[in-house]
């Protein structure tokens, strides 16, 4: 199985070769996307908007997110996730509901996700989601330290030897990215941590779903953003609302195997940066 470490090694080997990105490579990437039906046009548009269709461009974006190796890794991961995700989504949302609002809410959320499973496959809103994801990933190329640490912590949670340690890392990961400006959202942080603990345990039970623990910072960050928006609009931030939002964000992250795989792969890459030794220490060793 391709675990976090193997994935990191593959990505490192690929990116350390420092190849120059040219138009030909970009064209190939674009062509591959065109095969993916409804996403093709959107991606093409997004790539043009980002200036990807005009020869070379500087930055790390292409190396990290558009290299063929990265896409291949994502595809491999997606292939592994595809058969299990339809089962994981209702289970995960039920765990969130249980942790935040009790068994009744958990059962209701799980049932809701199961009933709307058919709907997901033809949901045209998927295009909007992909657009959001694309911009999110584009931003994460210059990942702030806070998010990078969270991804590293999520990676540690996925790879931890025992459950309790994994939950400690997962709790730290989500707290790292949750917004604390809005008092109403801040008040719900313990509920989100509680749900995260349950979710971590649930995902770690199976070897195949274990890498999915890496989606937790993304879910927590998006949950925090949605809750902050709701709070700013004057809507009450109650526990059922938190459970619903978190369940919806979990479903959003998991419903498309490519999306889930992309989040996991990006998390591995971003988290890898902060696990390197401190620059001051390295400098001293060299001296």
């Amino acid at each position: 199985m391709l675990d976090g470490e193997t994935l990191q090694q593959e990505l490192t080997n690929e990116f350390e070769s420092e190849f120059e990105y040219e138009f030909q490579n970009e064209y190939e990437v674009q062509h591959e996307y065109e095969g993916e039906e409804f996403l093709g046009g959107l991606i093409g548009g997004a790539m043009n908007a980002l200036g990807l269709g005009e020869g070379e461009y500087e930055g790390e974006y292409e190396g990290e997110y558009e290299s063929e190796a990265f896409l291949n890794t994502v595809r491999r991961l997606a292939g592994r996730f595809k058969p299990i995700l339809p089962k994981v989504i209702p289970h995960a949302t039920r765990l969130i509901g249980n942790a935040i609002g009790g068994p009744q809410l958990g059962a209701a959320l799980g049932q809701m996700m199961r009933e709307s499973e058919y709907e997901f496959e033809y949901e045209t809103a998927g295009q909007l989601e992909f657009e959001g994801e694309w911009s999110g990933e584009f931003e994460s190329a210059a990942t702030p330290q806070m998010e990078a640490i969270a991804e590293a912590l999520a990676g540690a949670a996925a790879k931890a030897q025992n459950e309790a340690e994994a939950e400690a890392f997962a709790g730290a990961a989500v707290t790292r990215v949750l917004p604390t400006k809005a008092a109403a959202v801040q008040k719900q942080i313990p509920a989100i941590v509680k749900a995260t603990a349950q979710l971590t345990r649930g995902l770690r039970q199976n070897q195949t779903t274990r890498p999915l623990v890496r989606i937790l910072p993304t879910v927590a960050m998006r949950t925090g953003q949605v809750l902050t928006q709701k709070a700013a609009q004057g809507q009450p931030i109650t526990r059922p609302v938190v459970a619903q939002v978190m369940a919806a964000q979990t479903r959003k992250a998991l419903k498309n195997p490519m999306t889930a795989a992309r989040i996991v792969a990006s998390s591995a890459k971003v988290g890898q940066k902060v696990t390197q030794p401190a620059p001051a220490a390295r400098k001293k060793v060299r001296g």
Binding site: I149, A164, E165, A168, T175, I189, P190, A278
Partner: protein, 276 residues
């Protein structure tokens, strides 16, 4: 006058709420830990709790050492039968020295003192220091961990309080961010040891202070160009656990401040529930 009445009301409501939520024994322990008159009762609990926590952190190194090469034997006379404590530790010499130091500190009359890589200023005398919003949230998460139903959930709360403490120390300091992951594992180990017993469980509320001083110490190390790895981090956390839990007076002060911050400043809704 008005302010005084409000504070009194808050205290009453808080006590009322806690008596409704917590069991009698838990409530009794909390009061014992926070009041100086109960220090003679707190000392025996700490006498078992501090070595338990430090030994749990030392467990992170146990597999890496050859058996018999570094062995430390301690004797603890714990008056409470509930505590299960092994009398020896094999592993990291620093942890072994800490445990021996704890044994002599609790065995003698004087205060617990030892030497380790701890900067004294990292554990300030905070009687009157105001609490930031992050500190309030960290205390709340520690409170949740101490009162959590399941052990794994408690560990998640312990892990969650560490980034909060880091934000409180300095939101922009990358140095603090770097040491956060290193602090989680030893603190989670210590937490697991304390959560096993209802009497030692409230001591988890000292963890924000322990985490804060540990991260401050480690950040200073990084700033000086000294390496920070898992072993250094675990030693620092163990040292701070000994510093706080090895001294009943300090532990009591930390618990008292934790309770004050949580009851007066936290917006977790405890008072509202009490009114209902």
């Amino acid at each position: 006058m008005y302010q005084y009445e409000l504070e009194t009301l808050d205290r009453e409501l808080e006590s009322e709420f806690e008596s409704a939520v917590l069991g009698e024994s838990d409530r009794a322990y909390e009061y014992e830990y926070e009041s100086e008159e109960f220090l003679p009762l707190l000392a025996p609990i700490l006498k078992a709790a501090a070595p338990m926590a430090i030994q749990a952190i030392g467990g992170l190194f146990r597999r890496r050492r050859r058996r018999g090469q570094r062995e430390f034997e301690m004797e603890y006379e714990t008056p409470l039968n509930e505590f299960e404590l092994e009398g020896e530790y094999e592993g990291d010499p620093f942890i072994g020295n800490l445990l021996r130091g704890l044994g002599s500190a609790f065995g003698g009359d004087g205060e617990f003192e030892y030497e380790f890589e701890q900067h004294p200023e990292a554990l300030p005398e905070f009687e009157t220091a105001p609490a930031s919003e992050y500190e309030v949230m960290a205390e709340h998460l520690a409170h949740m961990a101490a009162n959590s139903q399941s052990e794994a959930e408690a560990e998640a709360f312990i892990g969650a309080l560490i980034p909060m403490v880091a934000r409180g120390l300095s939101a922009a300091a990358p140095v603090i961010s770097r040491v956060v992951p290193q602090v989680i594992r030893p603190l989670a180990q210590a937490g697991r040891a304390l959560l096993q017993n209802p009497q030692t469980r409230p001591l988890v509320r000292t963890f924000p202070t322990i985490a804060r001083s540990s991260m401050a110490t480690l950040a200073q190390r990084v700033a000086k160009g000294q390496p920070v790895n898992a072993r250094v981090a675990a030693r620092t956390v163990a040292g701070n656990v000994a510093q706080v839990l090895g001294n009943p007076r300090r532990a009591s002060a930390v618990m008292k401040r934790s309770r004050q911050i949580h009851s007066r400043q936290c917006t977790c809704g405890a008072r509202k529930r009490a009114r209902v």
